[in-house]
Symmetry: D3
Subunit: 239 residues, 6 copies
């Protein structure tokens, strides 16, 4: 059930960076995947764009005896940050718990040093302002000063996990922007992004007509007449 965790390749990554998550999400829905979003998270800095493949970490609810056994020292969390590969996004299952952090600035520096593409956690971040200043794309559910041991036991990595209400497999494509974060199965990514870019071109053409004062009726979505005009314009532009 593991998929390839290798890098995406420059061409696919570039296309993904150029595509809004809203467009990608719409294409996933057309392919039967409605639950593609990691809900309840936002970028620490406005304007952040995130693209990479998932490397997963799973935290479990605090149980004091288990935390005493495996919570400290070089725990599962730190082993994962030491092992993250260039282009990977660390995705942390924190059960949507907002009143404890799941990482701080030192781990963010380590991810950056390893070439990670970013971090997504449905829990909190401590050292919020310091982490935001590092320049690594980080999406989280909250800022909170407490260490993870207040609510979590860092348990294992590289498993399929739940995060923000959807499921993330190691190697899934992760894309984030101002609308949030979505998960794209690796095998679908090329097809989804190409279709999304095509739809974006159409939507931008429609938007230009709407700005000119045309009504939505017939235009959005395109009826036959409008589609003919769109295709003519596109052909002319490409000529």
């Amino acid at each position: 059930m593991m998929t390839d965790t290798g890098r995406l390749g420059a061409a696919l990554e570039a296309k993904l960076r150029a595509t809004p998550t809203a467009a990608l999400s719409a294409q996933l829905r057309r392919r039967g995947i409605d639950n593609s979003s990691i809900d309840g998270v936002h970028a620490l800095l406005p304007g952040t764009v995130l693209v990479g493949t998932a490397k997963t970490i799973r935290y479990l609810p605090l149980r004091e005896d288990l935390f005493a056994q495996v919570g400290g020292g070089q725990n599962a969390q730190k082993r994962a940050f030491d092992a993250v590969l260039p282009g990977e996004v660390i995705v942390i299952e924190a059960r949507g718990v907002t009143d404890a952090a799941t990482l701080g600035d030192i781990l963010s520096f380590r991810a950056l040093a390893r070439g990670a593409a970013g971090i997504v956690t449905d829990g909190g971040v401590r050292d919020h302002d310091a982490v935001a200043a590092i320049g690594l794309p980080v999406f989280a559910a909250s800022a909170h000063p407490a260490v993870l041991g207040r609510r979590h036991v860092p348990w294992d990595a590289d498993l399929t996990i739940g995060c923000g209400g959807t499921t993330v497999q190691p190697g899934d494509v992760i894309a984030g922007d101002g609308d949030g974060v979505i998960v794209i199965p690796r095998a679908m990514a090329e097809d989804v992004v190409d279709a999304a870019l095509a739809q974006e071109a159409e939507d931008q053409w429609i938007a230009a007509r709407v700005r000119d004062g045309h009504p939505l009726a017939g235009l959005f979505p395109l009826d036959a007449d409008w589609r003919a005009r769109f295709e003519a314009d596109t052909a002319a532009a490409g000529a």
Copy 2:
């Protein structure tokens, strides 16, 4: 039960723009309306001010058979955006659901082209950064990449609806700023805004005294002595 949906007139609109929602809300409370706020929404851009009259749209919870019948094409949502009049605020009932969008950039452009005063939704917005850049006042509960069909069936328009925990009738006055969004019955609007402006003048005079170091006791609210001084100052200023 329908009230006039016409424009507010330049004078009333200007007064409303000059008055904080906090002041308007306080006057509504004095007139027996405590539930005047659309809660859980915020402007996409800080500093946004919104004034207009309500045009309502109602979304219902997703039921797949009903969405298949009426969700796509020129649905109730798009018909309403095509019909919005200058000065109207589109108000969407989305039951506070944050994990799907209720509109995106193309519809926002259409609202702008029609001269709409703004949009309020107690659901999500997709293409968040693009919508924010358009320059139309938009208040929403969340950003989310998913299309409305993930959670909603766009159903009808121009009914009295619930939004953010209060009730909105077509033609109600809608006012929004950094404190949120409130609803003012059209027939009360002139009286409420005049009283609010008068109170604002008084509050600003009080604030100046407070900044000078006077205690709140007697001053806020004004007792007889302080009121005499306030009235003297006001008379002097107006002389």
Copy 3:
């Protein structure tokens, strides 16, 4: 059960201002206090730093007969703002209720005029943009236009209260930044901040090594070898 509400003294205050709440929180946890954070609040302005000692106010749930008796005029809220001392932080128990304000601009001006160090409320703020502009550190759970009487009866002051899921005693040290707000028992404050500053120095040294590409294993936390290097560096720097 009352502790000293006097000022912190310039030296302690300066050390607290220089220390992130994340570092203070970690030291409190080492001393057995895991519930030190006031959760669900954020600064009205990014970059806000708050340090002071707590002066508490308690609001109770709205009961119309009690509000009629004590809600208006020079109520418990206003008496407390008139009495706040330089260096004190007003901390308001509002039960996490976000759909009404617990203070507005006039009271914020009064706190500023009295020399208060700031305000923390687990309820809402009205006149949000005006309050943010005053320059007083204010942490709140929400912005909302409604006056407190929509949900609260301002009841008493200077009691031990609950706020944001922890307990605050008059005289407790309050510290806030981008990660949130924490409460430090007055008697522990000197010890906690000194330990936090020492840990910060160590963490910054570790962060520099991580930026240089060293793995977390052995380094974070420091094993014996790395600690020797850290101590050598520190000694050299201090030489």
Copy 4:
């Protein structure tokens, strides 16, 4: 968009009474309807079974001026209870608000006298024990002493509404039991119940094999061998 609100007919009603909502829900899912349940409601009395067609009432959030206009006297709620037909289920949209009632004993008596099949509300019931004793199937989200005016304005009836997270149209089939309440589009009802009864027969045959100690593998769902045995047994029983 209105469908027939007439009675179901004795045969269909009898089949629906004999079929668990779990079985009906599974058949709806196979036909593409996953959002068929009215969530968050339970029967006032254990063992209650409910079958009928929907008659809808819509409450809006309390706004004091609107409540003053239409909340009292022979309001929309009472008109609907006076008009309910035999075999109809009154379904109330109360936005999941649990801290006010949406009906009490007198209205329940009226529904019984009119021959209503039952009541479903995603709000509260007052006179809980008295209503439970009446013998009418009632599903609600809570018991609460307050009248509806604490949170609601009874607004209109016989519209398509939202209730418990799904959408209900006048004339939809409503079925309830210990698992909750589901909504079946009228045109699908005969097909859905027949398929559900067939599946129930199969499931009961499987359950008997499981009680005898057979593993689930191959048996649930039936593989080809087990299906042959099931069909042989069924044929024998019908012979």
Copy 5:
């Protein structure tokens, strides 16, 4: 602000026991008190009726240093149970926290031995089945095995507190049944219960007419014709 905490007297207590909380709540609303209910609590045993005057206890959120100082031994909780008077209802402020208990069987026995009228807590109860079996009316928000120290510091008693979203003063009248628990200001209790009993008589007469098949229109509430018939019947019955 303290009201008399003495017993209610046999006559008032008997009338309160005979009156549903729904009827009392409606009378409080007519007198301007909409927030009279302690929400989110239910009786441990169906059919429980509770009447008495409030004795309050306040728990604060767990802070480990404060719990160490005052949580154990003869704490504020136990002192209050040792001091409760006959006819008093112990009302505990537990901030609606359901994942820890606020009392168990030994304290319930103590309340019973002291002649307390019952217990209301907006937190949990441990030894749930044992407490239910004692025969004392107990309303709580949950059952939970953990001791109070998991989430609370028992702090003080006999203050005005918040409980279940309303405010309770020592000496307030507390009434509970299948609809929940309400708070009646002591000075209003006689008037409220008398009006509620009168309304109950009217409602029962209306209910009888409804059972006979009369429509609600004109009958509920009574118009002039129906009121004349009601008064005639009442006079005849009393003759």
Copy 6:
């Protein structure tokens, strides 16, 4: 990290059955484990007692592509029910999602046939009344008609999981009653139950004194004098 999943042995099981979860929970707290409870679940039938060792199943959030791959047929859920051993309790991680079922009657029959000690799920149960009638101890968060595929992908088994806010390892001791469900590390179980039984004996002796009218002060917890009397009584009873 796996612990022994073998049966508990008759003696330990009998002691656990005789001990309330409240007493066990208190002993765990004394040993530093405060997070021992699976919160938000209740027995389908009042009076249910559950004792066994954990066999875990993990469901992940619905993602339609993954459900299509592994959701149907002999999935992870059914394999686990086919493999459960006598004395084991099936514990399901369902992330507290209440609006879909996680099992129904056929799987409950299978668990019974395999000799399972019971089932705990922090999700829903379908065929609620049928499952309750089977006689197997089942604790769940809700009843719901929908199959698991509405919200879940059944993923794997026999891992350490989160359930109801705590962590459960395969082989952990699970105990449930009217207060809820707790988790006891296997290696601590004997010690915890013996201490709990001893404390129960002491508490029952205290309860008897309280029923006789003795105040809590000095008695609960026992001071030196009362402890001497308790020990004398115990010695006499044992003589």
